[in-house]
Symmetry: D3
Subunit: 246 residues, 6 copies
């Protein structure tokens, strides 16, 4: 119980988190997010107009795509473009990221505009989907600020109803820990990804027993830890967004 | 709070659940599962041998594929075979069903054998993925019994370490309800799918805020309800499995 | 010559045929057709409007898709959606079913409306394509009745110019037999599928020598038998359609 | 009845048929077949060895692929390679050509060798599939002769048990005619493709009512005509094969 | 230096080149081009109208697709349509052919019309892409003449600003040679494809060191040879185009 | 003639070039290459063993894949994985990078080992393919050093026979310039990519007239400039490789 984690962290300690805004020049929002060695490039592409099925609704659309570069992991994976299809895991995470971000968007206030969020994993060391959500929020915020400055979105409109961040928690060596890196992820008995709003409510809870099923008490402990982690990430998002976009 | 649900059920009441074993003749396990009007054909195909990457491990493999027939829903959907790719939702649910069933399989006891679970939705009225898991367990149990009778799996081996079932819960009209049908699903603020073992532990918890984010108290209420629902389903699974396979 | 067929039928005897209307609730026409153990779910989906290339023609469109569930057969087949392409046999039968049904549709009387026929084989024991055509006709008739009741198609319009059914015939053990089941199909020297209208004319004749080529006399015998089989199926279609749709 | 056909032919007259052997240099058998303006390049590629599923059987394999060049027709069609999938019609004809040729191959005598038949339509004017089968037979015969000369197939072995040819017949302007060109094909009420062996037996009969269903008498007339057409083609195949391969 | 090439040609000698116009009947321009044993069927399909992205621009579009028939080569290749994707080499050559032809088209003079160039290799013996470009130019010229006669393109408009041809050069056995056939291509140290206009300027230069890198002097020698080869091809193009289209 | 370039560079001046080794942790070689604002992540993945078709040859294999992230450009492009196929331009550049690197690899000295080079464009501002080749060489060098240290490749073996770099040159505003950025690339009349070895010989020369065809003199001027540019890049590659891998 009292042995330290393999990298010396406390059970409820995040890895070093960095959010670099304006990491590339073209996108309306561009953030490099790092959770320790996990590095994800998040871009928000703002386009006036919406897909055909949404035209005339007065509402906007936010969608996300997640992908891993072939050598972001320890062993090279084949490209999904070369295989000619998107894999199940990629599909699943892309959908998760999209839902998470839409939870804090008022599409009416956004107006008939579309934001594509692209989260490309440059280096993976566990927690890529939670890093992606956390970084994508900052990119989205910058893109909306840009759109308001450009007049695509009304100045007063509150297109964002709040903020969103995400963290993983899990049971490793019989103990609940926060923000698992890859070695911890592999050995975790239970693995849970939690998406929260900045005011501490849940947007998504996804827990999976990798080994033995878990009971209610373990679940409760993990949820506590996740709320804590998201609160820390929210703080950091607010800090980086306190200055104007680069 | 006290108004009845649109179909007259109590908040903690399942729809009528039916599990028909031996529904088709070819598969080693074949179950038609019905949760009210939701009807899913679950088959378990047992094959000696394992995929190449697992050869020589002494361990078996269990995998699942979920799909909806084009007119299982109110409006016809295009076939994924004709579109040439499996959609994100299909991918996601197939993976969920596979993980759920593997949670109660001892692959060493199964030996180098493979079970394919196919869950095809004939009619959809909400809860197709939870019905699929609940029915697939029964089909899997029958397939393993068959394999033991045939000598493919050792007689004494406990290839199944327990049972598994799944149910949806959600907040509809401000109230937590069990086993949402399609009209409830559409209007639910929060939607959660929970997979439990027969002894009441969690295998998977997937909760999503469709509208407003949900707080810890709501989450706790939903988890209580889900545990109850799974207990009822477990009972029914045990009852139908008490007789020999047809 | 005088030995009975492996299941005791006479050479010119159909398997037990059942046509269950209203088998599922969503489609405008929904029929479960059974030719012995062969079971095909046929749905007719009626949609106002036509594909772009037919707009403004005043004419409707009827199209069909056939597919087999992965474990409808004795050995599991991979899903075509997962393989990412529709196989040659599936393509061929889908086209056959579509042509067969269009042969009895007056697309001008149908008006600019589309009917999608989906024929999904739940259990296969020979004759799936002929069962599909026979069942799809009943589903189509119900969908058109529905559309007339809804006012999508003019009340007086004769969108159906007749009925259509289909049967297989073949030479098994040197003898011409009607409605081959799977074991007969496998051992047949010649295999023929015949689609007829209710008034005994041919819509489609497809005969293939699986083993030795066949001569004119054999062909004549098979055609006689097929006309008889289709007449029996027509009678049954008329009987089930004599009552209002469920 | 007595008006000539649009190109002056008699009802039972073929278009000018040409079979040019050795049309290209690389293949083991290479034939340009012309039925009037219809031109199909047929190649037979002989490869020692068989697909994996047939290894150790002692038997060979013959398979066929049919395709149309994008501007073989009056209006350009998109390439199936660019669309990323083979269309239903292409699939259907490829399968027909393969079955037709396999009907005259003794795969045991062929030994564990594979012949790929490729039929590429350079110019289409009706009857492309029947021309393909008729030409492919000659290419196949040349490839087998080559393989026997090379010692891949035993000298005495009768890998070909007979010859095969194919012709279309149809009802045009109320009259049964042989070998329809494109304008006739388009206006035909009934369209039938017939594959026969050199000794006048049927390998495949495929008749389709394009307009009104057809009765037994019409069918009989068409079959008579088809047998005549195939006999004429057989004669021509024998004549060109009487000389050594170029 | 003084030994003859394997087929007896001089270093700066083309193979026999033939350009047969009107080779098939349907296309607006149809040319069979032969560089020795290399044979490519080039068709130009003229269609009024342009792709959506170019509508209203007043400008036309010219695009090309190159492909090899499966047995155009010594060993059969799988069809790209069956593999479900276009290979890299095919893509690359299609793009090259398109760029080459667009270099001599004034799309404003062409007006809002599209020309599809299809280059299908019937027999390959080296130089298929250069033959394709050389033949496609003649087909394009015929299609534009046709379009002017039909009134689709203004009579006076100079839609073609010049002519274009292409040739390969390479270093074989230490010596620069013109128009490599397949055996030379395989043994070439350096291989270069050059596209020139009729007035001797470059449209495209693509040189690749297959073995050792090449120096500036070698490059200069190859460019000299290529200019000579293109001049000879230009002359031949002009000669065949001097007579009216067949 | 004497006006400066839009960013103030001299005609023969490169943008600022940076080569950052060890940019990510997992790959055996990992380089971030920057040509001004163009940023490409190049990884070299070393795997013992070769593809099946090369087994037993004693020789290794080097292959490359190039891709652009969806928002590396000014306007977002759809992902090729989502579209289900690799585009022509991507294919073409991947093949170019592979050929370029293989030109300096002695596959016999490499032994039966494979190196995958992945070049992913994070930000595009012209010259992505030349930056990719220049960076990939450094990643490849690091991977081979690693493999020798690990004993996968023999210590003394000279798996690299030289170095390789690439640069673009073009005619912009009537003047030959080196290393075009995106605005220059768009307005260039002629565009050429040149790959050279460290000792100043050519591996690949690809020149395209985007506007008017170019003459021999212009071509000569561009080649001079390209040789200069590659020499400068070679120097920088040598400088960064002079220190041990990070």
């Amino acid at each position: 119980m009292t042995s330290p984690r393999h990298d010396g962290r406390l059970p409820d300690q995040l890895r070093e988190v960095r959010l670099t805004r304006g990491w590339t020049d073209h996108p309306e929002g561009s953030v490099l997010v790092e959770f320790g060695r996990t590095r994800v490039m998040c871009t928000a592409s703002f386009t006036p107009g919406v897909p055909r099925w949404r035209k005339g609704s007065g509402k906007g659309w936010v969608t996300a795509e997640y992908a891993m570069l072939p050598r972001s992991t320890n062993t090279r994976s084949d490209r999904e473009s070369v295989k000619g299809k998107v894999g199940g895991r990629t599909h699943e995470i892309s959908r998760l990221v999209g839902r998470a971000l839409r939870a804090v968007v008022d599409t009416s206030a956004l107006g008939e505009n579309t934001v594509h969020l692209d989260c490309d994993v440059l280096q993976a060391d566990g927690g890529t989907r939670t890093a992606a959500i956390t970084g994508a929020y900052v990119a989205l915020a910058d893109a909306i600020t840009w759109a308001q400055a450009q007049g695509h979105v009304k100045k007063g409109a509150k297109a964002l109803t709040g903020s969103v961040s995400a963290i993983s928690v899990g049971v490793v060596g019989g103990r609940a820990v926060l923000d698992l890196d890859y070695p911890e992820d592999v050995s975790a008995g239970t693995d849970m990804n939690v998406v929260c709003t900045g005011d501490g409510r849940f947007v998504e809870v996804q827990g999976t027993a990798e080994g033995a099923p878990f009971d209610r008490e373990e679940l409760d402990g993990l949820l506590d830890l996740a709320l804590l982690g998201c609160a820390l990430l929210t703080e950091q998002q607010q800090r980086v967004l306190a200055t104007p976009a680069p």
